[in-house]
């Protein structure tokens, strides 16, 4: 076989498989992260190259190297006295008998025998593991150095909360856009995207190139753009579907409590907010912002809130009150509008426009999600009570950026996102978390994430926290640390049978848009066919 790389010379389940390369194969062609198959006696193994090294048969070669000016000596010694070895971490195995072939690849529980042949994984091998593009699987990119299409089962993907990590500028946003399109086309889930930098809705920026199209431009009938900042949207010539306003009475002390560190409030001030809510009722925020200090004094005394605490709280709330989208009385119920759209299967992108400060993002994302989640919970419980599958709400995926602000250990217990991440899909709501500092995210939340996709990370703590609890962690670490700074990512977890380093598919050229749209059309055509069938049943 032309693709043979070498033979297994030693192996252990824990430490992986050592392969001695055949002499014509150059170590320089072996890159970390590539896929190989090992033909064992009774089963095949799939694994990933996680290390490459050089070996010599005699230690003296190292101390007195031969005269390499002579190509003859070099030719003779290459592959005999000196040789390349690769280290493979086996990931999956498939048995030789018919039954296990039907069963598909299973996690690896044993190792190949001595001198089993090792080959580069072929396209059909990859297809066997990751599946072909179909109505559930979406082509997200190519495995490194391979032409094969890497497909992700999105129906499976949206069943859990997921994370996309990577340093700033490594292509997280592009990757997210691709995944959102995938979810939009291949899964039943709808997306609610809190779009901090207005990247997803209409158009996104592209480093060193013209702006790229957003979701709305590609799938106008399935995406609605909501905005907090109508002016900015108009300036960017974005046609928005709804302008979000938040009334004073929609803000609760819980929202304030997660903003504690961003608003620089003391614990006591947050406590005071709860007390004021209790004594002043739903309109507490309006009263705090509008009443003069004298008018509210009696209430403060009653709740035994200290003057300085109150002033600290008032200062913090003033910051919120000054946000343009926070109005005394909201003209329309935003949550209801969002839910209407979501129920119709239309994905909602909420643009923040000029409100890029983290306090606005935290406030809005948390507040809206909490109420949407409450509605989902209610609908789900109703459906369970009525034992009616059709009453269950559509699965919802909420996309949040800067996730470590919501999910750090300090506030993850308080924000709704902590709850969603932990309770997972019980109520058909899951998260897509985008973040550049995964080490800032609560370990418990991180451990509950189904699939993680990570671009290059170089901070040791970030890498550790992303890979926490993954088998073969140290091997994946070498792969992760060697990803290119752009457009390469490592995916592992629930939705993929084994970790794989890949290059996300192209996004931004006219052809790529066409491919994205056509991938959806075929599934719509199938959907129509299915609908017609169901109609006549």
């Amino acid at each position: 076989m032309t693709d043979r790389l070498g033979i297994v010379t030693s192996a252990s389940l824990e430490q992986g498989v050592e392969v001695r390369l055949d002499s014509p194969i150059s170590v320089e062609d072996m890159v970390v992260g590539r896929y190989v198959t090992i033909e064992g006696q009774k089963r095949r193994f799939f694994g990933m190259i996680t290390d490459v090294s050089l070996g010599v048969i005699d230690e003296r070669l190292k101390s007195s190297p031969p005269d390499i000016a002579d190509p003859f000596i070099k030719d003779v010694l290459t592959g005999t006295s000196t040789f390349g070895t690769i280290h493979i971490t086996p990931m999956l195995t498939i048995g030789g008998d018919a039954e296990s072939i039907l069963e598909g690849p299973q996690p690896v529980k044993t190792i190949p025998t001595h001198f089993s042949a090792v080959n580069l994984a072929t396209e059909s091998d990859m297809e066997l593991v990751f599946g072909k593009e179909d109505k559930e699987r979406f082509h997200i990119g190519n495995p490194l150095d391979m032409e094969t299409r890497l497909c992700l089962n999105l129906e499976e993907f949206v069943k859990r909360s997921n994370g996309i990590f990577g340093k700033s500028g490594t292509g997280k946003t592009f990757l997210t856009r691709i995944l959102l399109i995938g979810m939009l086309q291949k899964s039943k889930a709808v997306n609610l995207i809190f779009d901090m930098h207005s990247e997803y809705g209409w158009a996104g920026t592209h480093e060193g190139g013209p702006p790229v199209k957003g979701l709305k431009q590609l799938f106008a009938d399935r995406v609605a753009v909501f905005t907090l900042d109508e002016e900015s949207s108009r300036r960017r010539k974005v046609s928005t579907d709804f302008t979000v306003h938040i009334g004073y009475d929609e803000i609760t002390p819980e929202d304030i409590s997660i903003l504690r560190s961003t608003l620089n409030l003391t614990e006591l001030a947050v406590e005071a907010a709860y007390q004021l809510r209790k004594s002043l009722g739903k309109s507490w925020l309006r009263q705090v912002l509008e009443l003069s200090d004298e008018e509210i004094e009696s209430q403060l005394k009653e709740a035994s809130i200290h003057e300085s605490t109150y002033q600290s709280l008032k200062r913090g709330l003033g910051t919120i009150g000054r946000l343009g989208f926070v109005v005394p009385q909201a003209p329309e119920d935003t949550v209801k509008r969002i839910l209407d759209y979501l129920a119709r299967g239309i994905n909602v992108v909420l643009e923040f426009g000029r409100y890029r400060e983290i306090s606005a993002y935290l406030l809005v994302a948390n507040m809206l999600s909490r109420r949407i989640y409450a509605r989902y919970q209610q609908q789900m419980e109703d459906a369970v009570a009525a034992d009616n599958e059709a009453m269950k709400p559509r699965p919802l995926v909420i996309t949040i950026e800067e996730a470590h602000k919501f999910l750090n250990p300090e506030v993850s217990g308080k924000t709704i996102f902590g709850t969603i991440a932990r309770e997972m899909r019980k109520y058909n709501v899951s998260l897509l978390v985008i973040d550049q500092r995964p080490s800032g995210i609560d370990e418990e939340v991180l451990s509950q994430m189904g699939t993680k996709i990570t671009c290059l990370l170089d901070n040791e703590r970030d890498i550790d926290s992303v890979l926490a609890g993954v088998s073969g962690k140290s091997e994946l670490k070498t792969v992760l640390a060697r990803l290119a700074p752009k457009q390469q990512a490592l995916i592992f977890g629930h939705a993929v049978p084994m970790p794989v380093a890949f290059q996300p598919r192209e996004y931004g050229s006219a052809q790529s848009y066409k491919d994205f749209i056509s991938a959806g059309q075929s599934s719509t055509a199938e959907q129509i066919e299915k609908d017609i069938k169901e109609l006549w049943e």
């Binding site: 048969i57 003296r60 003859f72 003779v76």
Partner: protein, 158 residues
């Protein structure tokens, strides 16, 4: 060389006097050329004898060449021939004989013998360099623990 079905590689050669213990005397002090010595003393050709030793390196079994010792020794008075290039090429298709050469004990160092034999065989091949590289690789495998020896043989291959 070949005798019957047995292939050998010449490992030593000497010319001595017919009578054991009697050493040839230096001649030709007044002659102009070496040939003239034999012309003036024609008896020399009868008094001196050349002998060579060959290391048995393999044998032919039907059409198959095996690189290990034959079941029977060469017969007395069997005729000995020099192998033609075609035979050499056939014999050196694989390198099993190298192991015999490495372990042989002769008056000449085995390393010299291997070097000379391979150099000569390479002339019978169209791509003599590829042949030498392949032979070198085989040697590298056989002499995996003896890097210095390998290095000295490789130095003699060109």
């Amino acid at each position: 060389m070949r005798t019957g079905d047995i292939y050998g590689i010449v490992g030593n050669a000497e010319t001595t006097s017919l009578e054991p213990g009697r050493k040839p005397i230096a001649r030709g002090k007044d002659e102009a050329t070496e040939e003239a010595i034999y012309e003036s003393s024609p008896q020399l050709a009868k008094l001196l004898r050349s002998e060579f030793t060959a290391v048995v390196a393999g044998h032919k079994d039907g059409d198959k060449v095996s690189h290990y010792l034959p079941p029977n020794p060469a017969r007395i008075h069997a005729f000995v021939y020099v192998c033609d290039p075609e035979e050499v090429r056939k014999f050196s298709q694989s390198f099993g004989f190298l192991n015999i050469l490495i372990n042989t004990s002769l008056p000449v160092p085995a390393d010299e013998l291997i070097g000379a034999a391979l150099r000569r065989m390479s002339q019978a091949h169209d791509d003599s360099r590829a042949f030498l590289v392949a032979a070198g690789k085989e040697l590298a495998a056989l002499l995996s623990g003896q890097y210095d020896r390998l290095k000295s043989i490789l130095g003699r291959l060109q």
